[in-house]
Symmetry: C2
Subunit: 284 residues, 2 copies
């Protein structure tokens, strides 16, 4: 084939990743950002925000399963879940695999991202219109500040945030973590994507400090590979008021996954503990 | 700065990774391959063979610690170790952190890689001239076939091999694994880098079948991030005749690491078990 088109993301000043593209499916500009959906040969359909790879059909299961299931099974009986960010819908889809979940408040700043993903990435966005999902188009930072002043509490909060620049910077600040703590029940669990251990080690360390100061008892990162993120080496951080994922009963996870008919490609009862043990020593 | 030079590796037909370079330190051509050492802004000095990233100063600890310590501590008392490939010397450096090790036979096909790394990547090659190390410039496939016919046996064999193309293809074939099994003591352990779970799933599955057919009792992959390898999502496979890493005494690892004064950046006693649990479900 003669047609040889590539999309290149300058991931840092000194690093760039290029994927060969089949097609450009969508180009839009919202109040907040530029939005593209492209179709790539290696990773399938890919969401790009502000010239940054967000998620791809081929590898999204890694990110979405790890940001969801360890936190939800660490809680054990989640009913009310808050998802902040993740307009593609992949996290919401995973959360709904837990039968105990009765309500998902899905707070996304940019409604145009949801609309683009509903149209072009249906394998991710397929559950956004589920009756248990309450889509709220607003700023997650402001949302948790408002909820913290009420009696409303969540069992699990998932912060599926972009990089800490622009409107998302506040999702990595002390005030936000204090409000998250207040918005959680007494046995609440939160989890957040926390960038690359190789490129953003000091940020991960800062987040851990904030979570400790906010009052969380158990705080641990997990690491995994996200092929299209800078360095490909990525982290999440889970913080829990009471429960430790290392103490979740393995048999309980197995039984629930079977009961729910839960299909996963990455997560299982061994991964649940393994990801909290296989943390590189330099991150501890 | 106006000077803006980049090195780009076409990692698959549809994917390429580029790093901004400070300098080209070495360009050579051996009987087997083209060899370059470049200095990059993001990852420091980087060894390139046949236009393929091999190892970088910044992230090499991930690869070299994981290919070494889980296998050596799973054995428990390794004295004679065989390292096949890994001309940069990073694996040999890690193996020598184990005080029990009396002899390392270091079999590398291409002496020019060793010479280039001795000169330009001393943080990796620093232990190649250690008195416990016996450098043997020959084909690893032929070497294990010859040793298998003798009485010589190794406690641990580490296959630090390149991609399965050209002269390295035989390092992924049944005959090689049969010979590895013969070259190991009754409580022997082997480990090999086994490519990307995302891009080479069927190869990993084929290797597992070969290791089972060769007679190994415990066989499990580990996964990690290697930022400069295709997809960044990488695997090793460990195969043991008797011992399981999941049964290594944690206190024993802690005590030995302290006794040896062993400094690591990735590996510790939690990682030892965690990496064999945190295996993506689709790989099992």
């Amino acid at each position: 084939m003669k047609f040889d088109a590539w999309y290149t993301e300058p991931q840092t000043e000194n690093l760039s990743l290029s994927t060969k593209i089949k097609d450009i499916l969508y180009v839009g500009k919202s109040e907040y950002q530029e939005i593209q959906v492209i179709d790539t040969y290696e990773y399938g359909k890919t969401l790009i925000l502000e010239n940054t790879y967000q998620t791809t059909e081929r590898d999204e299961f890694i990110y979405h399963e790890l940001i969801s299931h360890p936190a939800l099974f660490t809680h054990g009986n989640p009913k009310n879940v808050l998802v902040i960010g993740g307009g593609d819908g992949g996290t919401v889809r995973e959360v709904l695999k837990h039968e105990t979940v009765e309500n998902v408040d899905f707070v996304e700043l940019d409604g145009m991202v949801i609309e683009a993903c509903k149209k072009y990435m249906p394998t991710l966005s397929c559950k956004i219109d589920d009756e248990k999902v309450n889509v709220i188009i607003t700023d997650g930072i402001k949302y948790v500040a408002d909820v913290a002043k009420t009696e409303k509490r969540y069992d699990v909060i998932i912060v599926d945030c972009p990089d800490p620049v622009g409107p998302a910077a506040g999702l990595f600040e002390m005030e936000f973590y204090n409000n998250l703590y207040k918005c959680l029940t007494d046995d609440g669990v939160m989890v957040q994507q926390t960038e690359s251990p190789l490129l953003h080690e000091s940020l991960i360390s800062k987040i851990k400090g904030h979570l400790q100061d906010a009052g969380f008892g158990f705080i641990r990162p997990m690491v995994c590979s996200i092929p299209t993120y800078p360095s490909g080496f990525w982290s999440f951080t889970l913080a829990s008021k009471q429960n430790s994922p290392l103490e979740t009963e393995t048999a309980e996870i197995v039984a629930k996954m079977e009961k729910y008919g839960m299909e996963t490609k990455y997560y299982d009862e061994e991964v649940h503990k393994g990801v909290f043990l296989a943390i590189p020593k330099f991150l501890k």
